[in-house]
Amino acid sequence: MTVADHRSPEALGAPSVGVGFKPEHFDAIADTRPELGFFEVHAENYMGGGGAPHRRLDAIRELYPLSLHGVGLSIGSPGPLDRAHLQRLAAVAKRFEPTLVSEHLAWSTHEGAFLNDLLPLPYTDETVALVSEHIDEVQNALGRTMLLENPSTYVVFAASTWAETDFLREIARRTGCGLLLDVNNVFVSAVNHGFDPELYLADFPLSAVGEVHLAGCADDRDDAGLPLLIDAHNSPVRDPVWSLYSTTIRRLGPTPTLIEWDNDVPAWPTLLGEARRAERAIAESVTSREHADAV
């Protein structure tokens, strides 16, 4: 399989910053038609028969490029993929013609029961093969490449023999899929597991990255009283994440970037403000790259 340039900025037009679409923002978006690179939706919310959700997304899709983000395919499950669900995803992709399609490095279904969370997996030879097979199947069903998102995790597995960055790099190599780099997930996992997020990002296969996610998180503590961050998507992007983003986007070049805010959804201007901040970070990264080139 040929490796597409997942980073092509024209893929989503410029400016290439988007936000997660929430129905409560629909009127504000339709009334003001803000300049934005794209909107992203959870694919599963558009797997109903029709009605208002489809109608709203049709209207958004007429005005903006769309990114389709699946949350239920359970690509990291040990068993076979849920073929019926894969067909539903393919049908949503066919209907709404998204520019990007992404899913998670996680499992969420066990023995036919959907657990409604993105659950972690050990990184082993067995799972790298399994996930790669599943991604092949997804890409064949969709007739296009997909992006696979790095997870945020609260535990690690004693059985893991691969570093997460190597695991993702190998899957991208085997399947030709792109990667969705969630910088908040890197920050959350780095705090939770005590590693340096800069080193993780230095080792991340950036050439495969087709989209970046930014989001907010929440604070907790583990049994030992050590800080534990929860990937809550319920608040503004934190300053350390903005800082990691600036470094990363400078190395990546302009890349479609999404503000994810799924819980305690703010008023539209607040969400748009987060998107504008990401646009400024991209603009500054371009300036600093040009400056570096000129020196």
Partner: protein, 345 residues
């Protein structure tokens, strides 16, 4: 350890709140960490309970937060979603709530394997009544007496569904209902202000409303098509219902209670009153609830079973039944996708 074994142990521990974290999962100190694992357990429980709460906002309001949450918690233990499409999750909750309220929470222990009796899903209502046997004289069939026989009760904002993407704005700030009323059997009456039967009926209505909201799109028949029918064709005419149409029969005034709760800051109507028959339609994007006049349910049910007008009229066995008004009402409500012409007699 094979990956499948790892996942099985992980999933088992998720469903067992008192279980220790799986041995193969570690925190920073190289050992299992209960608080870390609890994040996953909490995400699963909160996500599923939240989905039930979002699907049944009025039921939650009239049950009270504590009772509703206890029922929702018991429900999600007994009914894990069978599909990642969460907009379909929770449809068995009304029947589960009926059982829970009748038998009491002690029957729904933490690890109960209880499954409520799953009812067959029909795209059109609950065809459990209306088995009248026709007979007697028939009045002349006529059409064209305009005017809807039913009352448009209300319309609410989109429901709160899914991973918060389908979360609407309005309708949250609702006052607590006044205490009073009783409830027999399983659940202490002090916990709830409405009789269990009314709460269950409101939940049935809310579930049907969500089904209608997400149903397939389809065109709707118009009254113009109806009046253009030749009188000769009428007796053999049938109708095909719109995919969103839902027909419900309640022993309680559930539709009135539900509608009163759609008004922000309004008080919820009392539960005293006669039973109501309700029709939900969604001809375009807005799902609406109507209370049907007497015999309206029975007529719609017959027509929904594929009867011709003459067959439905015969089955209702009421010479005074004004089927023209009822048929126009059904069409005007957006319940009818198409009118299938009968052959001229």
């Amino acid at each position: 350890m094979p990956f499948e074994t790892t996942v099985r142990a992980f999933a088992a521990a998720l469903g067992e709140p008192s279980a220790p974290p799986p041995a193969m999962t570690h925190g920073r100190l190289g050992a299992p960490d209960a608080r870390r694992f609890a994040v996953y357990r909490n995400n699963v429980a909160v996500g599923l309970i939240g989905a039930v709460e979002a699907r049944y906002p009025v039921s939650r309001r009239i049950a009270g937060d504590d009772l509703f949450r206890a029922m929702a918690r018991a429900f999600v233990r007994a009914h894990r979603p069978r599909s990642p499409v969460m907009i379909a999750y929770g449809e068995e909750f009304p029947e589960f709530a009926a059982d829970y309220l009748a038998r009491g929470p002690e029957r729904f222990g933490r690890f109960s394997s209880h499954q409520s009796s799953s009812k067959g899903r029909a795209s059109f209502g609950r065809p459990t009544v209306g088995e009248d046997q026709g007979g007697g004289s028939r009045g002349p069939m006529r059409l064209g007496s305009r005017g809807a026989p039913d009352t448009v009760l209300g319309q609410r904002d989109p429901p709160r569904i899914g991973r918060s993407e389908e979360r609407p704005s309005g309708g949250r700030a609702m006052p607590a209902p006044t205490r009073g009323g009783g409830c027999a059997n399983g659940v202490d009456s002090a916990e709830m202000q409405y009789p269990p039967a009314c709460l269950v009926d409101v939940a049935r209505l809310e579930n049907a409303w969500v089904e209608a909201y997400h149903a397939e799109d389809a065109s709707v028949a118009t009254v113009g098509e109806l009046v253009s029918l030749s009188p000769d064709c009428l007796p053999g005419t049938r109708i095909a219902f719109h995919p969103a149409a839902r027909l419900l029969r309640f022993a309680t005034p559930a539709a009135t209670v539900w509608a009163s709760a759609q008004v922000s800051n309004g008080s919820v109507a009392p539960s005293e009153g006669l039973g109501e028959d309700a029709l939900i339609t969604r001809p375009d994007c807005d799902a609406r609830v109507r209370v049907l006049p007497p015999l309206g349910y029975d007529f719609a049910l017959k027509m929904g079973e594929g009867a011709t007008l003459i067959e439905a009229f015969t089955a209702l066995d009421d010479p005074a039944f004004d089927f023209g008004t009822h048929l126009v009402g059904l069409v005007e409500s957006g319940a009818v996708a198409s009118i299938i012409h009968g052959r001229a007699s």
